[in-house]
Subunit: 363 residues, 2 copies
């Protein structure tokens, strides 16, 4: 049972950044930048109240804010600082009303923390939940799409001061247009989208993910303080599975079409046992398979890489030769295992031929 | 002296489409589609009043509407019909007021006629003028930029029903973002941009270009009816120069980055005289040079290709092997020859090494 988070203060940020990066399954942005932005805003404006989605008035306006783009770009093209607020303010102008609460679109080092910075600066509460329960690379890959909520109007802003408002015909068209704009904006953009009424948020949002992120971050810190490896408790408390322990022996990575795509090859720590694992990613880790191509974990289930020594989550843009890692599998939110969910975010949605099989299910 | 056009009726459309294509210098879109759209709207809604920019109230709202993209695409991806009105209506919503008049952004088969369709449908007058006095391939290449008028807010719409509003930091950033969106929209989009007050339009608009287009179209038709070649009167009345007569022997053409780029090679009709001409284009014909690379006409001066027999203007996407053509040079609007004008649309703006020399000036 995850204790409920009710307020976010400066003291919570280390746990949230780490837990966000963990559930981000390699994506969702680098935790350092987002943590700094949130800490700066919390120091200036005070704590952020965290509310359950059921506390929202049915007519309230809830707006997810996020960074969009390739995490590899975000490491070098730093945000100016106010782009997310510009995106939110732009969307508010289009809608003719102010937001009543902010929401995370996904879990991730950056996308679990930027909304905290926005909430603090705009003095708005943050809803305890998100649209993925993990991170996914594309805009339409959210629980809101399953709930027939439109991503548009959507606002985008960049660090140069450019702003764009989209009214696309559906969420896939929104993704395609927004991706082209993100690339033109230099590879990353701050966005505000899926504006929802409270009544819509109540049926669409995946609940409690901020509390869970906070809990995971704390658990990793606690275990490290006690000189225990966090993997045991993570496995027990999250119904997770340790899929592999090994060394990264090769990483092939390219930034294309606004995404960071690639493959990481791992071998067992005892080189003689011949065990190896291939992890494929597109911003997030999406497929883990053995040498003969047998999948051991498949999107939408979560594939998380942790540093073998420190249990620090490793993002797809950080992973490199020589890293010693634990590969962790976690079951996704049950809604993703529905036919509509798998259609949106199953292996086929990313061009992988594997049929989805739930984590741990017999072959 | 060009007689002033005061109303556009169905009977004027043949002349306007042809004259627009002529001043479009190979770009500005295919005249057939635009003519059909304008004729349809004029038949349904009646004639369009044409006004001098000085007739506008200083506080009036004037909005240019246009098609953006590669002309090669526009030939195959036909507009649905109402995208330009959707773009205008989207911009009006952003501005919180209705337009009082419509304007052409440039001359061209499509971009001299689509605004007529919009004006007829929305029952608005059309200003006798445009932003180029010809066609250019990029958004920032307009007299409005020289007058420090912002292209944004700018609205874009496609035939699928997607709409986008841009607020970019300057006109070059607007071009870059809009171009990426146009490519994602399938290579062409309908746009409304450079919203201006009447007072701004009075100092920015290049005046009388619709009347001139109408006159050119009529002149070509009159001379053909009289079995005279229109080139003589075009030369006399437009201060133009016949630069070359010859046959197209090679065309290299590619659609890249949302533009139709390429080169047409011409040789003299008497193959033995060894004369040849190279014409380079990016949506529009921009450079005409002899075999040794000596320029005979350079952007921003106009380079127009006419069919040798019919005097019909030839667009960059139509020109092909075997065409027998007259290459016509026309002086550009004097404002383009200023340092700021040449910076925007001189040879260097398109990556050509030639220093600008006015049409007909000694080498």
């Amino acid at each position: 049972m995850t204790p409920t988070l009710t307020t976010i203060t400066l003291a919570d940020m280390a746990a949230i950044a780490r837990g966000g990066a963990f559930l981000g399954t390699g994506g969702g942005g680098d935790p350092t930048i987002g943590r700094l932005m949130a800490e700066h805003a919390l120091a200036a404006h005070g704590p952020v109240p965290v509310i359950d989605v059921d506390m929202l008035d049915d007519s309230a306006l809830v707006v997810p804010v996020a960074m969009m783009g390739a995490p590899t770009v975000m490491l070098e093209k730093l945000p100016r600082g106010d782009e997310a607020q510009v995106a939110l303010a732009t969307l508010e102008r289009v809608l003719g009303r102010k937001a009543d609460a902010v929401l995370c679109i996904e879990a991730g080092g950056l996308n679990s923390t930027i909304p905290i910075a926005v909430a603090a600066t705009c003095r708005l509460p943050l809803v305890d939940g998100d649209g993925m329960g993990r991170a996914f690379p594309e805009l339409q890959m959210v629980s809101m799409t399953m709930a027939d909520i439109h991503a548009c109007p959507m606002a985008m802003a960049d660090e140069k001061g450019n702003a764009v408002v989209l009214n696309a015909i559906d969420n896939l068209a929104t993704e395609k247009l927004a991706r082209a704009i993100t690339v033109e904006m230099g590879g990353s953009a701050l966005i505000a989208l899926y504006p929802m009424r409270g009544s819509e948020a109540k049926r669409a949002v995946l609940r409690g993910s901020l509390s869970l992120i906070h809990r995971i971050g704390h658990l990793i810190a606690e275990e490290r303080t006690g000189n225990r490896h966090p993997a045991d408790r993570l496995e027990a408390e999250l119904s997770g599975r340790r899929l592999f322990e090994g060394r990264v022996v090769d990483v092939e990575r390219r930034t294309e079409g606004g995404f960071a795509r690639g493959t990481a090859q791992l071998t067992g720590l005892n080189r003689d046992d011949g065990r190896c694992l291939t992890v494929r990613f597109q911003n997030e880790f999406l497929v883990a398979e053995t040498a003969d191509g047998t999948p051991v974990a498949l999107t939408p289930d979560l594939i998380c890489l942790l540093d073998l020594e420190t249990a620090e989550p490793i993002t797809t843009e950080q992973v490199r030769y020589g890293f010693r890692v634990i590969v962790f599998g976690l079951p996704c939110d049950p809604s993703w295992r529905s036919p509509r969910g798998l259609d949106l975010v199953g292996p086929g949605a990313f061009g992988y031929a594997h049929a989805y099989r739930p984590l741990g299910a017999p072959a």
